[in-house]
């Protein structure tokens, strides 16, 4: 119908953008009352919704952002972030399960404070709660910590996953800098592995700050 829009509830990820944008001249876009498991869509897609598991709004953990204090990624290890659905396509949790299972079959578990960890029904296989598999989110970030010596195995996992999932995923690697401040990525992955010329760097300003009451 002309000048009317309809939101497909199966495709809607409950990100809240349409409501916040004020795009509807009749102000007819209203938040629905969400019930489990649909609530997952909002907690993973709306950056203003905070995950109870992490205390961080959004999809992931504090990651490298506080590594100068937490020492989460130590030298010799690497944080591996598989973000399903971004850019542009979104993801069903069935694809998230495929990632968790693939890593689990090789002995690598999702880090405990990743929001996905709380959705795992079978810790032995990595199977997620069955009722959530069709739920959709703009993106879901799954985090693992692997020894740097597992880089060849990681490349195998990524290649297998690329053929298994029905959406797109991006991959990020967290690495503690060397003593000189340089990134060890070339030494680990080799100079020919694709990587963007941009990324994130923690400047170490919280390093060594401790004590006092928490």
């Amino acid at each position: 119908m002309r000048d009317k829009a309809w939101i497909d509830p199966d495709e809607c990820a409950e990100c809240g953008v349409c409501q916040r944008s004020g795009i509807c001249p009749q102000d007819a876009i209203l938040p629905g009352k969400l019930e489990w498991p649909r609530t997952l869509r909002e907690t993973f897609s709306n950056p203003l919704a905070e995950h109870k598991a992490t205390g961080v709004a959004g999809r992931g953990t504090e990651g490298i952002k506080t590594n100068d204090f937490t020492n989460r990624y130590r030298r010799g290890f690497m944080g591996v972030f598989i973000e399903l659905g971004r850019p542009a396509l979104g993801t069903r949790f069935a694809d998230v399960e495929a990632v968790v299972k693939q890593f689990k079959s090789r002995g690598y578990s999702v880090v405990d404070d990743n929001p996905v960890a709380g959705l795992i029904a079978d810790p032995l296989t990595g199977a997620l709660k069955p009722e959530i598999l069709h739920e959709k989110a703009i993106s879901v970030l799954v985090e693992f910590i692997l020894p740097q010596s597992a880089v060849a195995e990681l490349e195998t996992i990524l290649n297998e996953l690329a053929g298994d999932v029905e959406t797109v995923f991006n991959v990020s690697i967290a690495l503690r800098a060397g003593p000189d401040g340089a990134s060890p990525i070339d030494n680990i992955f080799g100079p020919d592995t694709f990587r963007l010329p941009n990324g994130k760097v923690n400047l170490g300003m919280a390093e060594g700050i401790a004590g006092g009451e928490k």
């Binding site: 959406t167 991006n170 010329p197 760097v201 400047l203 170490g204 300003m205 919280a206 928490k214």
Partner: protein, 237 residues
């Protein structure tokens, strides 16, 4: 969180186009008495060094329970002085939140900001036990220059290895440059295409469309200048 690490279109031959600054308190220190003042002071410094953008333009309209009664005051004030309201909101959000962000499009401003926070602010944090981390996003060459200029040594890196899976379903590279400007994926490809059409029909200028692109990003870290250039390229104007 991968957030800003997936931005496309930044190139070594165009250095200094954008640097994003993020500050975060670790989870277990969120409630530490006094740390909110350190975050608020940091927000003042971020604003003083001329960020390109901070906090979404529509942030005032968001429902943020942590702001309490301050929300209605800010909404009223926003109608009269929108820019000043966003400054105030940044300061209030910094007091209530464990994370603040801003984007700079002039590296010198980031150098000045880092010089500024490495003084008394960082010393006070050390003395009082406030572990507030600072993270820069951008071209690694630009971040290295920031470190060199301010005498800092990089601590931890996040590298993107790019996209995998059903990449055949992705939009074109120029469109990706726009949709990846929001690390939470809130810039819709359909919205981008709608805006490009409006530019072509002269219903919007590229500058106006770039402002629109920035609206969904609640973190306020879209580079509107770069977005305008990309929109011109897509609309062929």
């Amino acid at each position: 969180m991968s957030h800003t690490s997936q931005r496309r279109g930044l190139k070594a031959e165009h250095p200094g186009e954008e640097i994003i600054v993020l500050a975060m308190i670790p989870r277990e220190y969120k409630q530490k008495v006094g740390i909110e003042s350190a975050m608020s002071e940091l927000a003042e410094k971020i604003l003083a060094h001329h960020p390109h953008l901070w906090i979404s333009h529509n942030f005032v309209e968001l429902d943020i329970p942590r702001l309490g009664s301050m929300q209605s005051i800010l909404r009223l004030m926003h109608r009269i002085r929108p820019e000043a309201t966003r400054d105030l909101l940044m300061l209030k959000a910094a007091e209530k939140s464990s994370v603040i962000t801003a984007i700079y499009t002039n590296p010198q401003n980031v150098y000045d900001l880092l010089d500024d926070i490495q003084g008394d602010w960082l010393e006070t944090n050390r003395r009082k036990g406030y572990p507030i981390s600072i993270v820069l996003s951008g071209l690694f060459d630009d971040v290295h220059k920031c470190c060199k200029h301010t005498g800092r040594r990089e601590h931890t890196y996040l590298h993107s290895l790019g996209f995998f899976g059903q990449t055949g379903g992705l939009p074109g590279e120029s469109e990706l440059e726009l949709v990846t400007m929001c690390g939470h994926g809130l810039i819709s490809i359909n919205r981008v295409r709608d805006l490009v059409g409006k530019i072509q029909r002269k219903a919007l200028t590229p500058k106006e469309a770039a402002e629109d692109i920035a609206r969904p990003c609640v973190c306020g870290i879209v580079n509107r200048d770069r977005a305008e250039k990309i929109l011109r390229r897509l609309a062929k104007v």
